[in-house]
Amino acid sequence: MSTDAPHEPILGGAPSARRFGAVNWRGLATFYLREMQRGFKIWKITLAAPAIRALLFASVFGLAIDRPDATMAGMPFLEFLVPGLIAVAALERAFESSSFSIVYDKTEGIFADLSMLPLTPGEIVLGYAAATVSGSLMVAAVVWAALLVFGGGLPHAPLALLFFISAGSLMVGLFSQISGLWSRKWDYIISVQTFIFMPFVFLSGVFFSLGELSDSARDVARFNPVFYVVDGIRFALTGYGEADPYLAAAVSLGVVVLLWVAAYRLFAIGYRFKS
């Protein structure tokens, strides 16, 4: 049977093209594994550093707050803070995963090779996105475990936690793909990180409840999609959320879909990499 298979290479003849169905699964898996290896080859920077930073933040706040009755939104301050720190670590990893990889390839002059792979734009976006989500989940797990020394415990709603971390890292990861495509050099992506990503994340209620803000500031803060991600993660961990969890889930998903379409479009037209 194997002798008459059409793709069997004949010794001395030209190798036949490898065939695949609607989705190039092997290509996708290879691309995904490459992205994962890039991120976690330097695990000291991508896993250990975020854990240490989260521990530092928690210790500093723990040392700073000397009133046992200091609360935030009615819960002990550290209990409120821990979900925020986990969210920040996951989202920061999500931002750095795709964009840094894209910009690195651009500066090395190998990014345009992407258009020669037997991968469709949809598969490329999916490959980057999958690597982002798995990376963020790993970082979130490590940071969660590290922060157990400050109390906390098993999540209130584990499935919701999985959902909100995935949705949040997808949101940021797709934004990161778009920013990476837009960036011509390192300066560009660092600027996006400093002037757009960081304010969006840190003003989203990571360290404080929106109840601490004035009414007008609170209305503005509610337009920040990252708020719904952080709030959803906090709800999933502690059972306390400021927005309705279903609303948070809907907003997160809606933004993810929009960004996915945008990222797909940009890869399809070869924005800033096919000329």
């Binding site: 330097i42 000291k44 920077i45 250990a48 550093a49 240490i52 930073r53 530092l56 933040f57 210790s59 500093v60 706040f61 040392l63 700073a64 707050i65 000397d66 009133r67 200091a70 935030m72 301050f77 300066d187 660092i190 600027s191 400093t194 002037f195 960081m198 304010p199 840190f202 003003l203 990571v206 360290f207 404080f208 601490e212 803000l213």
Partner: protein, 277 residues
């Protein structure tokens, strides 16, 4: 006479170029290296000046909102006023470190460190050039952040002398530390490790967010072993007029550490540790 001058001129053109002479210190060399260092960070000023300023202001906003009525600091000083000098000093420390370490690191990776080692400059002069560049960046970031915060929040200036002394001494300390790191590190990973596991923890646990005097005994002792604590404490004294450690002690500690680090860097350059093989 005209003829003689003309003859002199042609003679000079025909002769081989003479060795440029300089006195005890190669001032032009130091000045050139200093200018190179300053231009290096000014070229990407959005990253090296604007970004740290925006980040510092962002953290100031967040911590003010999150902690303002939850932390008791020194008496009759509002938390936001207590916090500001610490955050400014953290920006100075991190940027000074980054400037010197990345300059040497990048030169090593790209292989153009020889262009710094070959010119007729002594190790002392090299250190001064790098140090000048790093301190300039640290002070620039610190000064602009201070001005913005003063305009936004408005806080007192108690002792400008202490502000300037601690600003410069602390910036120099981190520059020298950055040079040691840059010379020692072989890859960018090593540098990131020093930043993440040494510089960031030391600056976070230095009393930016709380008054050391309110900590348990053991934590107080540990804090007093952290040189960053003296930098932030003294710098804050310059603004609010109160500190956790005696002012003279902070001044002495910083000066002492600067001298020791200076000798270490000097020694590294003289022996060519990891630079000359």
């Amino acid at each position: 006479m005209n003829e003689k001058a003309a003859a002199d001129g042609t003679a000079r053109l025909a002769a081989p170029p003479r060795v440029r002479r300089f006195g005890l210190v190669n001032w032009r060399g130091v000045w050139t290296l200093y200018q190179r260092e300053v231009k290096r960070f000014l070229k990407v000023f959005t990253q090296t000046i604007c970004a740290p300023i925006v980040t510092t202001l962002l953290f100031y906003t967040i911590f003010s909102i999150a902690l303002h009525d939850r932390v008791r600091v020194v008496s009759d000083v509002p938390f936001v006023v207590f916090l500001a000098p610490g955050l400014i000093m953290m920006a100075i420390l991190q940027n000074s470190f980054q400037n010197c370490s990345s300059s040497i690191m990048v030169a090593k990776v790209q292989g153009n460190i020889v262009d710094v080692l070959m010119p007729p400059m002594s190790p002392l002069e090299l250190i001064c050039g790098y140090l000048g560049g790093g301190v300039t960046r640290g002070i620039l970031v610190g000064a602009v952040t201070t001005i913005v915060m003063t305009v936004v929040a408005g806080f007192p200036f108690h002792d400008i002398g202490a502000i300037v002394y601690f600003g410069i001494a602390a910036s120099a300390m981190l520059c020298l530390l950055g040079m040691i790191g840059g010379i020692w590190a072989e890859k960018f990973d090593h540098m990131a490790a020093i930043t993440n596991f040494v510089v960031v923890p030391l600056s976070f646990l230095s009393g930016t967010f709380y008054s050391i005097g309110r900590l348990p005994e053991m934590w107080q002792t540990i804090a007093h072993l952290n040189p960053f604590f003296y930098a932030i404490d003294g710098f804050r004294y310059g603004f609010i007029g109160q500190g956790d450690a005696p002012l003279w002690l902070g001044m002495l500690v910083l000066a002492g550490i600067d001298v020791v680090l200076f000798f270490i860097v000097h020694r590294m350059l003289v022996t060519g540790y990891k630079l000359k093989s």
